[in-house]
């Protein structure tokens, strides 16, 4: 039997030891969190292949294997056969809580529908994405597809769940009923098994609820909830998101191999991995009162999270990733965009073959420096494209009437403007293998700086070993435990980037600056266009930076206006980026390569040729 060893009713007790797992598509990652003194720390980690697929078809096998690795490393007895020992009995036996997140088996795949594509269609998409889903299609009355094409599409897709929206409360019902008729005609089947009805959430015009029930009540597992767009001016995503989570646990998880057992083992509901990451991002932003962008670049997908002025958004670029989807990054970004970050020449055929070979053997790692440079070039483009995607969806509501004032004569704004304001951005958090496991931390920092082109003053960090999902779900049980581990073991602050906005000829003066270091030292210098400068400023240290930009250059306060800010250090330090915004690279190949090489050397991005030669000598011994 699988399940907690104790059958005692759950009583609130102090948490001392927590084991948490994240069941990913390929790997199940387990971490142990222990209370040491007054604070919680992540102490051990273990991982094992995920076992959702044949021949195991039981997710708990991978979970137990990953926990067994922790047992071995920590010397703590956590498992009794297939059971997790709870609660913690003594210093060496049991844990108080076991929690888990999951994205195995392709995560939660949803299809959403709306009436107007960029209004209710987008609202439905935001609701699903925020709940941690991958949106496989957005159908809308005005999406340009013919009715029979829509029906065919619904029929061929096998989503885990459908979210239907459309119409404001009390508005016309025709279009939303029409969509219900299409869905009924398509008779959609769920992805896992054909023996249960497909869960469908209706979150549209409440006046159409009766008709939708008549049309879809028999054919689907229909659930009604509040309208996600009750009036044009307001989104109400919360109730739909909660229903998605409920149905995810009640229907989808029950069908995935071994999840019934896993649900019995956990002390809190299993969360979809991206939902848990989103939760921790929201918690940081709220606690620190900051605007942030978080990114999790994986093998198959890239998730982007943002919190701006308290509004949380998440997008997933389902086919931008570093292994399974690497070839798609090439297809979407184009060869030239990838090559612009590579500091050497390589012929197209060789590069294309290499990228395809990574796609078909996704678990391989770069063995040579040039392979690493190519992968990091691809990562820059994947990050850049995923942010563009995010910006397009993290917007103010579209279709909303705006009151115009006299100032609009000078600054016309359309409705649906993106909420992502890079000038207001305080922190970028990077996660995922290519960022977390970059051999040098400065490489992670430069990948994010090059891809996101932060403006003004922006702090950067990475997730040390990808434990944000675990901490997200932990924060629902014990926020202090989650925060302690997040601050001390999860976040690795890289440092701060200072990037004046504007362009100029390489070598021209861009800005003057003064840095007052914590030890009393003051550095005064000027930054030229094309310069990259890195100053050591350690983790936990702060410095005061005064930047005086040139006449047509801004550092956030307007052209030529000086800015003084307190900046935070990190394992990389304080970076002055004088390469101009938007960042432009020379079209001429030789000029581009020599500029990239100069930048690499300025920040110590890659080992020098002597370092590589010496490493090869060691290797051959």
């Amino acid at each position: 039997m699988t399940g907690p060893a104790s059958n005692d009713p759950p009583t609130p007790r102090p948490l001392r030891v927590v084991v948490a797992t994240d069941c990913g598509s390929t790997t199940t990652k387990a971490i142990l969190i222990e209370k040491i003194g007054d604070e919680y720390r992540q102490t051990y980690r273990g991982e094992a292949p995920t076992t959702v697929e044949a021949p195991f078809e039981d997710v708990t096998r991978g979970v137990l294997n990953a926990i067994a690795e922790i047992e071995e490393l920590s010397g703590r007895k956590i498992l009794d056969g297939d059971r997790i020992l709870t609660p913690c009995k003594d210093d060496k036996t049991g844990v108080d809580l076991y929690i888990s997140t999951s994205s195995a088996g392709g995560g939660l795949q949803m299809m959403v529908t709306g009436v107007v594509q960029n209004m209710t269609g987008e609202s439905a998409q935001r609701a699903a994405l925020g709940a941690g889903a991958i949106v496989i299609d957005v159908l809308a009355s005005n999406d340009g597809r013919l009715p029979h094409e829509k029906i065919e599409r619904i029929r061929t897709m096998r989503p885990d769940m459908i979210l239907m929206s459309g119409g404001t409360d009390g508005g016309a019902v025709t279009h939303v009923v029409e969509m219900a008729e299409y869905i009924a005609a398509a008779e959609p089947k769920p992805r896992f098994g054909a023996t249960y009805k497909l869960p469908l959430i209706y979150a549209g015009n409440k006046a159409a609820q009766g008709q939708v029930k008549t049309i879809l009540g028999e054919k689907t597992a229909l659930v009604m909830t509040e309208n996600i767009r009750p009036v044009l001016e307001r989104e109400n995503l919360g109730p739909a998101r909660h229903k998605i989570h409920d149905l995810f646990l009640e229907h989808v998880m029950q069908q995935a191999p071994g999840y019934k057992k896993l649900m019995e083992m956990t002390g809190a509901p299993i969360m979809p991995t991206p939902a848990a990451v989103g939760l921790i991002m929201e918690t940081i932003a709220k606690r620190e009162h900051i605007n942030l962008i978080g990114v999790d670049i994986g093998g198959a997908t890239t998730d982007v999270f943002s919190v701006f002025d308290g509004t949380f958004n998440r997008t997933v670029s389902a086919n931008l990733g570093m292994s399974y989807s690497v070839s798609n990054v090439l297809a979407e970004a184009g060869l030239a965009n990838i090559m612009r970050w590579v500091p050497f020449t390589i012929d197209e055929q060789t590069l294309r073959n290499r990228i395809k070979n990574k796609m078909i053997r996704p678990t391989t790692i770069p063995q040579t420096l040039d392979e690493l440079q190519i992968e990091q070039a691809i990562a820059r483009e994947a990050l850049r494209l995923a942010l563009i995607h995010h910006k397009s969806l993290a917007t103010a509501l579209k279709g909303v009437q705006q009151e115009r004032t006299i100032s609009d004569v000078f600054e016309q704004q359309t409705s649906g403007k993106t909420l992502i304001d890079m000038l207001k951005l305080d922190l970028i958090v990077g996660s995922g293998g290519i960022l977390s496991h970059a051999p040098r931390r400065v490489q992670a920092m430069m990948m994010m700086v090059d891809a996101y082109e932060p403006l003004g003053v922006t702090r950067l960090s990475v997730d040390s070993i990808f434990m944000m999902p675990h901490l997200g779900v932990l924060s629902t049980i014990d926020e202090k435990a989650a925060t302690d581990v997040f601050v001390r073991d999860c976040m690795i602050y890289l440092g701060t980037c200072v990037a004046p906005i504007g362009q100029g000829k390489v070598g021209d003066r861009c800005a003057d600056y003064e840095i007052a270091f914590p030890d009393g030292r003051v550095v005064t210098d000027h930054l030229k266009f094309g310069d990259l400068r890195l100053y050591p400023l350690g983790v936990g240290e702060q410095a005061t930076v005064m930047v005086r930009p040139m006449k047509r250059v801004s550092c956030g306060a307007g052209p030529g206006t000086p800015v003084t800010k307190t900046v935070h250090g990190g394992v990389v330090g304080l970076l002055f980026d004088g390469r101009g915004r938007p960042l432009q690279l020379p079209a001429d190949q030789q000029a581009r390569i020599s500029l990239l090489t100069a930048w690499d050397q300025a920040v110590g991005l890659y080992p020098s040729s002597e370092d590589v030669a010496s490493s090869r000598r060691t290797d051959s011994r």
């Binding site: 008779e187 073959n353 070979n357 496991h437």
Partner: protein, 376 residues
């Protein structure tokens, strides 16, 4: 306990595979447990519901949705032929008459008085599910499908395109390091599974299509040629439904890479035999690899020979293929498995292993960058 596991590709002369044949929706199973079946035989049948065509009659007739029933000539559930009148108005003046004709032959599925839509459905299409491999029916799932067991020689490829095919094996090159040039293909190779060596150029692909070969099995191709063949840049390795005229299986990867000697020798030894091949590849969760299945005369082999069992990690002496530059495509045997992490030229500290290549030299490779040639 967790262990470092590198999934490999199986190349073996004798094994037992089970292939699940599943209908996309409920139907009828045509065979019973214990039956011997042929690859091209139907084992199950289902009726795929026909396509649905919505027609907004309210709009076309210019009436309110609630009124359309008055104009309908056909009722729900009735059969309708293409161009037959579905609905019509009865105006006072004849020349104002509007007739709505059916765009398809099928049935009237539903009529909505809320939206004014009529849904028409085409007749169902019969789907015959083939056995795909010669073998024994070992399991029947009523209304869903069967599992067929086949004692065979098996070659798993790394990547393929195109669906299932069946044909006689013909070897078209002298050795595994020889490219398959167009002049090696002849008209007699129609409907056959042609084995090449290191590389398949675009010109040979064109000729294969022209001749009508069933399948091509080669070491590698250039990505640019694949893009030209498909007409688009393949972003994610989920394949099997392409229709390019033949099924293509790569045994090594992208580029000109000699086919592993063992693979070439096995396929050559089985020349003249009938093979079932599939190009379907899925690299993400639930890995599916392209395969060449060549049935043996014996219908059963000991269970330990099964290729479907899970491996227990890499061991000394294992035959492995290096799957990343700078030694991509080289094959050798594992000669040491040091447990400590080693710093590689990228400065990453990783677990490595030593591989002794055919020429006797030894190289150090990250464990993530090798693939075990299973069945060795």
């Amino acid at each position: 306990m967790a262990h470092s596991y590198t999934p490999g590709l199986t190349v073996t002369d004798q094994t037992v595979v089970r292939r699940v044949r599943q209908l996309p929706l409920q139907g009828t199973v045509l065979v019973k447990e214990g039956d011997l079946v042929q690859a091209t035989q139907s084992v199950a049948r289902a009726e795929l519901p026909g396509k649905v065509y919505p027609l907004n009659l309210a709009n076309q007739l210019g009436v309110a949705p609630g009124e359309i029933k008055e104009y309908l000539v056909k009722r729900e559930g009735e059969t309708v032929h293409k161009d037959e009148v579905l609905a019509e108005n009865k105006p006072f003046f004849k020349w104002l008459k509007t007739e709505i004709r059916s765009p398809i032959t099928g049935t009237v599925e539903s009529i909505s008085l809320v939206t004014g839509q009529v849904l028409l459905r085409e007749p169902p299409r019969v789907l015959n599910l083939l056995a795909y491999v010669d073998g024994l029916v070992v399991e029947v799932r009523p209304q869903q499908g069967v599992t067929i067991e086949c004692a065979c020689s098996l070659v798993q490829g790394i990547f393929g395109i195109g669906g299932e095919a069946h044909g006689e094996i013909v070897v078209a090159v002298e050795g595994p390091d020889r490219p398959l040039m167009p002049d090696r293909l002849t008209a007699e190779m129609k409907d056959k599974v042609v084995i090449g060596g290191s590389f398949l150029p675009a010109e040979t692909m064109a000729k294969a299509k022209e001749i009508g070969v069933a399948g091509l099995v080669v070491g590698g191709i250039h990505d640019q040629d694949l893009r030209a063949l498909l007409g688009y840049d393949l972003g994610v390795a989920i394949t099997g439904s392409e229709q390019v005229g033949f099924t293509l299986i790569l045994t090594e990867g992208f580029g000109a890479i000699p086919m592993a000697t063992k693979t070439f020798a096995l396929l050559s030894a089985r020349a003249g035999a009938m093979a079932s091949i599939s190009g379907a590849t899925q690299i993400r969760a639930g890995v599916i690899r392209p395969e060449v299945i060549i049935p043996l005369k014996e219908k059963r082999l000991p269970a330990t020979r099964s290729a479907d069992r899970a491996r227990e990690g890499i061991q000394l002496g294992d035959l492995v293929r290096i799957i990343r530059d700078p030694l991509f495509g080289q094959i050798g045997r594992v000669s040491a498995l040091p447990s400590e992490l080693r710093k590689i030229p990228t400065e990453s500290e990783v677990r490595v292993l030593e591989v002794q290549l055919d020429d006797g030299s030894t190289v150090v490779v990250p464990r993530a960058n090798i693939e075990v040639i299973e069945g060795a």
